[in-house]
Symmetry: C2
Subunit: 299 residues, 2 copies
């Protein structure tokens, strides 16, 4: 838990749209009054405890609860770099996740101060989230190649997922260059981010040479969480909010939005971008897959 060197191997995670319990088949009718059966993603409450203290209840897809809980606590600074997680106990039936640490913890004061964050990127965050943000220096030597970005988005768009099979869900991907390492989905995008943060923490994977991809908008919360994971490059298929851009510029984060097929807009940290894409990158297959996805856009 406390090691900082990159481990040689770790379990890569990709969506498992056929896994039991993630979708339900629901009967209804269509515009002609005909009976239809559609797959619908599930959503359930899970309550996160840190040792003996109840921290928050979150509506979630429910897969990878240990990563979600650890990532949430990590992103809220309730787990420190040198903390040792001794156990993560999960009671699926009660909807409870208990993260246990060597260090004794008490965040009663912190729990009093919560902020509602914006829109799709919304989560419950706590007042001091910005404290650490200002101390982080992102890796100036990280680079993103436009050719690699196009191959990465093509991989994401064509990987089987709940997004493609049921829709109404967000996805986040941790990538190394054009290679996807972890692809998490959740009803709440903040949960998908937290699952990746938890995976990184528990596997001792650092963010400095990684790229973070999200299907969601580039809001202030998204930028803050990416910077906290020390990832220098954030990419989204969706658009920007002004404070997201402002915070990214402050932190020196490379912020790339509206990334679709061959196109994108970069509004911060553009010095990390290397323009090497040829006409063959971001090809028709990607565009077709993208169009198919548009039928299912979650929002």
């Amino acid at each position: 838990m406390t090691e900082t060197a990159e481990p040689k191997s770790y379990q890569r995670i990709f969506p498992d749209p056929d896994a039991e319990g993630l979708t339900a088949e629901i009967e209804g009718i269509d515009e002609s009054g005909d009976r239809v059966t559609v797959p619908v993603v599930v959503e359930k409450p899970m309550t996160i405890f840190l040792n003996r203290q109840e921290i928050v209840t979150s509506m979630t897809l429910g897969d990878w609860p240990e990563y979600m809980a650890v990532g949430f606590l990590r992103n809220q600074h309730m787990l420190h770099d040198d903390d040792v997680v001794t156990a993560v106990d999960i009671d699926e039936e009660l909807g409870v996740i208990v993260v246990r640490t060597e260090r004794e913890t008490d965040y009663e004061a912190k729990l009093q101060k919560k902020i509602r964050t914006s829109g799709c990127a919304q989560g419950t965050v706590f007042g001091d989230m910005m404290d650490r943000f200002e101390q982080i220096s992102l890796n100036p030597d990280a680079r993103i190649h436009t050719s690699g970005l196009m191959r990465l988005t093509k991989t994401i768009n064509t990987t089987p997922s709940l997004y493609l099979s049921a829709g109404a869900i967000h996805g986040c991907v941790l990538a190394s260059g054009e290679e996807a390492l972890v692809y998490m989905e959740d009803i709440g995008r903040h949960n998908a981010v937290d699952k990746i943060a938890g995976w990184m923490f528990l596997n001792g994977v650092s963010g400095g040479d990684k790229i973070f991809y999200t299907t969601g908008r580039l809001t202030s919360e998204m930028v803050i969480k990416t910077v906290q994971m020390e990832i220098p490059i954030l990419v989204s298929r969706s658009g920007f909010t002004e404070s997201g851009v402002e915070l990214a510029r402050k932190a020196g984060l490379t912020l790339i939005g509206r990334a679709r097929g061959r196109r994108f807009t970069a509004l911060s940290g553009v010095e990390r971008i290397i323009y090497d894409a040829s006409e063959d990158d971001g090809d028709e297959a990607d565009t077709l897959s993208y169009q198919r996805q548009q039928q299912r856009q979650p929002r």
Copy 2:
């Protein structure tokens, strides 16, 4: 504030994409390395007080703060049917909205118990939100005509909005039949809903004969808020979550999702739907507008 009869006239509200302070022009570069300037929606913190008590801080677009604050308090049951709002004081600079009521209020106990709700539909909700939900009977005589639904979605898709001009934003519409009465936008979809709830409360408009349209997914929070506004029909361009469907069925809410052009899927309360659309409804103009919007999907 306490009247229950529908007022004869009220101010209809539609998006004002050119209003000052809602978007900023930001410089960046595109996929070819060329300079571009793109409009980006703003996002700012506003703190809601009820009388002397600080309730929550929300990241918001910032338009219609009085409706957002009153609607939020209303949806959290901190404002009752018979409460009289004596003033709503707004300090734009400090980002503070103070709602004042005749009744003395104290929600300290309630503020201790918050739940993170899911995904895009996320907001901070409080533990007793379900209490009132179970007591509400939705109007069984309300109807939605498929022809009217198609004309309504066409109106929404072609009305000038921040969604069309800048993207990365959610929209909610309160409609009477095929007629849009209020069309609110916000970075956070829960804020857009709250603005409509506040507008209804302050204008004494009841929900029993209305239709609620959202660009966002049909999650449990969206269903709970629609039922609380006593609106019997909820329509979305996006998809469903299982617990959203489950709650809608429990409440007898008509739940229509994936409504695009002529197509939709209804998973609850289908008895309120009247199939009268002809081949001319949901025409090409709508489809074209929809395609244009897809370029800007917020998620």
